[in-house]
Amino acid sequence: MPARSRKPGPGGPSPGHPGHAHSERPKDYERTTRKPLAPWDRLKFLALLVLLWLVLVWSDMANDPVIGFVDAARQQLTEALWLEVLIGLEVLRQLHFLLAEHWPAYYRLWSRGIFGGIDRVSHRLGDWTRFRMARAAKWLLVIALLALILGKAYHTSPVHGLFLLPGTIIHALPIILYVMAIVSLGILQFVGIFWFMSRGGVDVYFPDDISTRFSDVWGQDHVLERVKEAMLYLEDPESIEDKGGYVPGGILLWGPPGTGKTLMAEAVAGETGKPYVFVDPGAFINMFFGVGILKVKSLFRRLRKLAVRYGGVIVFFDEADSLGNRGGSVGGQGANFSPAPQFDGCHGFCYLSPDTQAALFAEALKAAPAPRPPGRFRQMIPGMGMGGGGGMGTLQALLTEMSGLKKPRGFFNRVVRRTLGMRPKPPPKYRILVMMATNMPSALDEALLRPGRLDRVYRVGYPSKEGRRRTYEGYFGKVKSDVTPEQIDHLATITPYATGATIKDLVNESLIVALRDGRDTITWTDVLQAKLLKSVGPSEGVEYIERERHAVAVHEACHAVVSYRVQKRNVIDTATIQKGADYLGFVKPIPIEEQFTSWRTEYEADVMVSLASLVGERMFFDGDSSSGVSGDLQNASRISLAMEGLWGMGGQYGSFAVTPAPHDAHPVADGQDRAVFETALGKRAEAHLAALADRTGVLLTEERGNVLAVAHALEVHKTITGEDVSAIICGSEGPVVDGRPYQTPEFAATLESYHEQVKLAHSGRDRRMPVPIPVPARKAAEPVSAWESPATDPGAER
């Protein structure tokens, strides 16, 4: 039988070795002889033993200056017999290998006969028995070796040497203790450093330490009810545990900044009868590896202690995003909870079949840009990728602690009881309610949010109108004011995205306005002025030349009057001709109520308000118009195209949303396709715009007097409120402007005359400017002059 089979490899003979076929290594059971050893493997142990012998010879020579090499070698040959025995055994072993490599019968005898027999016998024993026997044999071998060494060291018999060892150890105990003390000092330094570094960042409050109550949290009733429920179960766990349930273990509150998440947590602390542990956001920022883990472990040790002692504990992690994540993102769950990228509107995804859903989802992923967090978080979230503040094992430690509360704990419990044959006691029920708050849920680790850790995820959104009203009432209750409940209700209406923080700021700003005026009671006018200040920001202090000021005022007045007449969903919040950073003025509408769908008539009204500037300029300046309408036309065009191509509000059913989008943009909605107005879609959109422009022209013709009146108020006051616009048109008294004179025929004629003069100056036929602004009987209040911050998000800007 050949020793190994040879056959060509897949590529035939290798080019470097012509004629030598690639040989496949035979399997062990196919071998008839032992695999040859490499030369080094044959000699290495012999070389090592000879080297050892030489060391002993050298040692003899070093210890005795009289002895020469030859005599030292001879002496070691007689003294180091054990070494010679080992060398002899190694030689025998190599001879055995050599025979097995060249003599198949010999190899078979050993591999199958002797070793195979031993294997067969030993495998009759169980694996565990063999393991124990092998372990016992190893121990015996170690003890025997030790005995030999000790016998040699003590110059006595090996067994006696073993008995002498304890005496030597006791004798050497002082030095052993000394060394251990030195080592312990070194270790203690690190333990001390880590102990000190793992302190801090965790505060424990007991009932009555905090005065905030649930009644202080306004406008988040739906979330508050859930939090109260979780807290009630913590207070009375039997009510759910007796029925087979368990106390919810974790709540995540997420939402925009300033919406009261931390306040809610404080209220929980104030209301609960259990200890409340507050964890600082920076508590898990650690300089050294392991400090964060120690902190987590020490935190949960304390929590378990408190939970056992007081029957429950609440722990709150503020700004939980500082815990970081391990690379994954939970944008789907935390950010929008939407199964697929969708356009606004009806959630038409749900009623489709699963196959259709999958196809649409893939398309949506291809077409839609990757979901990005808004604004300033864009640059921050990627940085959280590999752990962020809570990295280096901290998050993992937290996850383990949060889900590992049911394991038996303690040395006595786990080791001693088991040694005595007792089963370890299960741990007591640690009732720990974990609350976390964040405004960046996408930065949280997915594993943190699974049920069992954070069972409940609640969005703390912008407060409802009722919530805002109660918040306003709360903050106005803390200052002196004569603002009526109706006015507060209105204020809540016109501040749709106000949060607790912004409401508090607005009330404070109103107080500052009142104090500046020498009063300590806030009036409705103060509130509106403060609101103007907050929404418009400070003036740049730039004065228009008169005819330009009038043109800008007419432009904004056209927007304002058309908005007043056609936009039923919105009311005007502010109209201004204060020049800002990138606009000359704007009219800002706000929704009267929260509404989640938009209708064709509403879009048409929006287009009319946008087109009002161009139509109005043409009407008031004899067909002339300015470049300031570009933004308005852009808005009108985009809405009109979308109505025709996307929303089915024109003459077409098909949606242009299914067409491929270059550069992450939509060809219709974003106007990327310049040829779109040459298409049938573009022509229909243009026709629609023209029709709406005609309707706007008719409206403005009817409202000419009102446009001039509002323009005059803007020229005089620079900034007016929506209520002032309403007052001017209705001839009533507004907060800033008294509208009554505007509805008198005399003043209307004056305004018309003023406009004609400005128009003459504008056309260049009569440059006699400045033309004085006609002044009606004014109300006492002056326009606000001290502005603080630039306005953002102007509605219809010029």
Binding site: D64, V66, L77, I87
Partner: protein
């Protein structure tokens, strides 16, 4: 490496071990590593039992207290008699003594010479005055020794008639630089034996090395 190579290497090692194992060392090497005293004796010289040697020499001598001592005699059953009385075969006796401060002051080359038997004239006169029966003194060699470690001492070869035979003594006494230790080696046997085995005795005395400790 083929079979032939391995076989030759193995055979070489085995033969080497066997040959080397059959050849014992040429000398027996005696060492006191703690006090750094070394010498060698021919393998036919056997060591005198240490406990009988110690009981014979006592805890201390007039010169100092014993730190270490060994005795060898060219005999199948060596005893302290070979060492401390006349012997027809060579006997060697080496010892290291610790010197006290008072003893240190009394150390001189002459005191070294007279360490075991009176060698100097004054010592012999004192001995005869004390009616000690010592005769046949003859000084054969008298050397002063210094080495690289500032150890210094004497080597004295002399004869004495011990009553039955003329005995030749080869005494080497050394002290370290701090004079805290005294090393000595005495090899003696009958004069005829000494003359016959002089080469062996010279090799033993010549190997006596003390090593620079304080």
């Amino acid at each position: 490496m083929g079979l032939r190579h391995l076989c030759s290497v193995a055979a070489l090692i085995i033969v080497g071990l066997l040959v080397a194992g059959c050849v014992a060392p040429q000398y027996t090497y005696v060492a006191d590593s703690a006090d750094s005293a070394y010498f060698k004796v021919p393998p036919s010289w056997r060591e005198v039992n240490q406990s009988t040697l110690q009981s014979a020499e006592g805890a201390s001598s007039q010169e100092g207290s014993y730190l270490w001592s060994r005795a060898y005699a060219d005999s199948a059953k060596p005893s302290v008699n070979n060492v401390f009385s006349s012997s027809v075969t060579p006997a060697a006796y080496a010892s290291v003594l610790a010197l006290s401060a008072a003893e240190r002051n009394g150390v001189s080359f002459n005191s070294m010479r007279d360490l075991l038997l009176p060698v100097t004239a004054s010592a012999r006169q004192a001995a005869s005055a004390a009616h000690e029966e010592l005769s046949g003194f003859a000084s054969l060699s008298d050397q002063v020794i210094t080495d690289n470690h500032d150890d210094r001492g004497i080597r004295e070869i002399f004869d004495y008639d011990l009553g039955t035979t003329l005995e030749t003594f080869d005494l080497t006494v050394l002290t370290n630089s701090a004079t805290t230790k005294l090393y000595f080696l005495l090899v003696h046997c009958a004069a005829t034996c000494f003359a016959a085995d002089y080469n062996q005795i010279a090799a033993v005395v010549g190997s006596f090395t003390v090593g620079g400790g304080s």
